[in-house]
């Protein structure tokens, strides 16, 4: 989505910095004097923000008239909170007003989406048919477990996390020590995926498959996996008192499976479960994180530079997170 900002302030971009880093959004900056000319050439469903901070009353009137005549979705920026009655802007057709506090905290993706939806409705704009980047064969599970029922098929994020160098680990922790160590690693994985509603679904030996609810829009497992790779050194030494640097691999995929609770998954036949298992077993290298092309479609824009194409496996493009050296 294209956001056009018209402002004479040098610092206006700070309000849109989060949005600039969001995938699927781009922000362009123009001076207020360009509003009329450039505004007319913008697409019908463009979102415009005009900065009215410090403008005189006649200038406000003039620019508001221009904005109304453009018949576009627009919002007003007021970094200093100088307008006592922002309702006047809405009477002229504005769909948003960014006062002092929201200007300070910055505009985010969720707000722009709401503004856009509101603007589309109120201006009765025909939305361009945009094809979803990914077609899902099963309904998405939603971003929590509330609507997920056993025995039904959903689209989930799959996250396989497994320790490398298992032979050495088994030698180092004989007998009961290995059980203790495995429990600690299991708990670490469980804690790491807690805030994205992830659940360890299957666990074998020194790794397991985490199922993360998926809403069709974002894949928080990518950020969580990225953080786990970034913090691997601290985690190794601080969470596990063994004076050794762990190495683990992570594979993330978006696909479908019938849901059954943990421990009751023996009869599940799922291409996605097989694929991610094969990927981590036969393609993934030690200490690395991978995304299938289905997951890569949902990578946050700011993380794109930290992934490279690693090849093709079982007919899918696979992307790898850059390594910390």
């Amino acid at each position: 989505m294209e956001i056009s900002v018209f402002s004479d302030s040098k610092t206006v971009s700070s309000c849109f910095s989060a949005l600039e880093k969001s995938k699927g959004f781009s922000v362009n900056y123009n001076t207020l004097s360009e509003l009329k000319k450039k505004g007319q050439s913008l697409p019908a469903d463009a979102v415009i923000y005009a900065d009215f901070s410090g403008l005189t009353q006649p200038a406000v009137k003039k620019n508001l008239t221009i904005l109304s005549s453009l018949n576009r979705i627009f919002g007003i920026l007021d970094a200093k909170g100088s307008y006592d009655d922002p309702a006047l802007f809405f009477h002229a057709g504005a769909c948003d007003y960014i006062g002092k506090a929201p200007f300070k905290s910055g505009v985010n993706k969720a707000r722009i989406k709401k503004v856009y939806e509101y603007g589309i409705k109120s201006l009765n704009i025909q939305q361009a048919e945009t094809a979803s980047p990914v077609k899902f064969t099963s309904p998405v599970s939603g971003n929590d477990w509330k609507k997920i029922t056993q025995g039904k098929e959903y689209t989930f994020s799959f996250m396989y996390i497994e320790l490398d160098n298992q032979k050495e680990i088994k030698k180092r922790f004989p007998g009961n020590a290995l059980e203790d160590f495995t429990r600690e690693f299991h708990n670490f994985v469980e804690q790491s995926v807690l805030n994205i509603n992830g659940k360890i679904w299957m666990w074998t030996d020194l790794g397991g498959l985490v199922l993360v609810p998926f809403d069709g829009e974002t894949c928080p497992a990518i950020f969580t996996g990225f953080k786990m790779m970034l913090n691997r050194r601290i985690t190794s030494f601080e969470n596990f008192d063994y004076d050794m640097l762990f190495s683990y691999r992570i594979a993330i995929h978006i696909g479908s499976t019938v849901y059954q609770s943990r421990g009751d998954t023996g009869k599940i036949v799922s291409d996605s479960v097989n694929s991610i298992y094969h990927l981590k077993e036969n393609f993934a290298g030690a200490g690395k994180m991978y995304l299938t092309e289905e997951a890569y479609n949902f990578i946050p824009r700011e993380f794109e530079n930290y992934f490279i194409k690693a090849g093709t496996y079982e007919g899918r493009d696979i992307y790898r997170m850059l390594e910390l050296v």
Binding site: T11, K21, F103, K104, N231, I234, M244, L324
Partner: protein
């Protein structure tokens, strides 16, 4: 700390039933410059002071002088490690410690002192350190690089919000490791670690902040450029003080400031040799040695492989 009458009575009982007057005198010598049981109790020197009377007077004086916690610390020491090679079993010690815990103070076995329970209260001195006394600390220093330039370039609200984010980041990273922010000046500060593996905790906090800054700059930073912070960790003996001016004069603070300002690039962490020498080999491999003259420092930074 408020000492309830019941706890004082229990301590009187513990002293009277566990120690002779001579033993009590040993304790008195550790707590006071001069303490005369006869003068305090009014018993003339040719009379024996009943243990109950001596203990009651002593506990009352200890309480009035704010030395009650120190008294219990000495009793624990006599009970566990002993004095001059002899152990003195103290009755009711468990109950006394348990009563103190109810007041939000817990016993730290490693340092042999009572400290505040961090789940209940958090103060600069962990509720335990005394002004002017020498302790071994690990210190973490943080400083936003190019602060003056940023302040000139960006509006105040952007700077305030960015620096508040940074402070929250630091607070969370040190708080979970029982560190205490000793001073904070907006663009950086000084954090102290005292307990357990203090050097490791201070270093983990520094590494954690380097990693958090990376993610912050990637996803949330309001500035057009990454927020840059120099981070250093150093440890050593120093007198504890509440006064920031006195803190600045200490050698250890001067050293850590030098490491941070002169040997640390933005968004990296440098630790001193003092800190690094206790680390295991695999932990130390995460750091790159930086030698300058006779000194060696160790630097942690996020280095990514080049994308082809």
């Amino acid at each position: 700390m408020k000492i309830p009458a019941s706890m004082a009575s229990l301590t009187v009982k513990a002293l009277a039933e566990s120690l002779t007057l001579e033993n009590m005198k040993i304790i008195a010598d550790k707590l006071f410059d001069y303490y005369d049981f006869n003068k305090k109790t009014g018993f003339s020197y040719n009379l024996d002071i009943p243990r109950q009377v001596a203990a009651k007077q002593f506990v009352s004086d200890v309480k009035n002088e704010g030395l009650f916690i120190k008294l219990v610390q000495i009793l624990i020491e006599m009970h566990t490690t002993g004095y001059m090679g002899k152990k003195y079993p103290i009755k009711y010690l468990k109950e006394i410690i348990s009563n103190i815990r109810e007041q939000g103070i817990i016993y730290d076995i490693e340092n042999h002192i009572f400290v505040e329970d961090p789940a209940i209260r958090k103060t600069k001195n962990w509720g335990a350190l005394n002004e002017g006394e020498q302790y071994l600390f690990a210190l973490l220093r943080l400083d936003i690089a190019g602060n003056s330039k940023l302040v000139r370039e960006y509006p105040d609200d952007i700077i305030q919000a960015t620096y508040a984010d940074f402070r929250d980041m630091v607070y969370d990273a040190v708080d979970r490791r029982n560190g205490r922010i000793w001073s904070w000046e907006g663009d950086g500060g000084l954090v102290a670690f005292f307990f357990s593996n203090k050097n490791l905790y201070a270093t983990f906090a520094g590494m954690d902040i380097v990693n958090r800054l990376f993610l912050y700059n990637l996803t949330k930073c309001r500035l057009k450029e990454p927020l840059g912070v120099r981070i250093a960790v150093h440890s050593g003996l120093m007198d504890y003080t509440d006064k920031e001016e006195d803190l600045k004069r200490s050698d250890i603070i001067r050293t850590i400031t030098d490491i941070e300002a002169n040997y640390t690039k933005p968004n990296t962490l440098t630790i001193s040799d003092m800190v690094a020498k206790g680390f295991c080999k695999s932990m130390l491999e995460e750091f790159k040695p930086v030698t300058t003259g006779s000194k060696t420092y160790y630097n942690y930074s996020l280095q990514w492989e080049a994308a082809e």
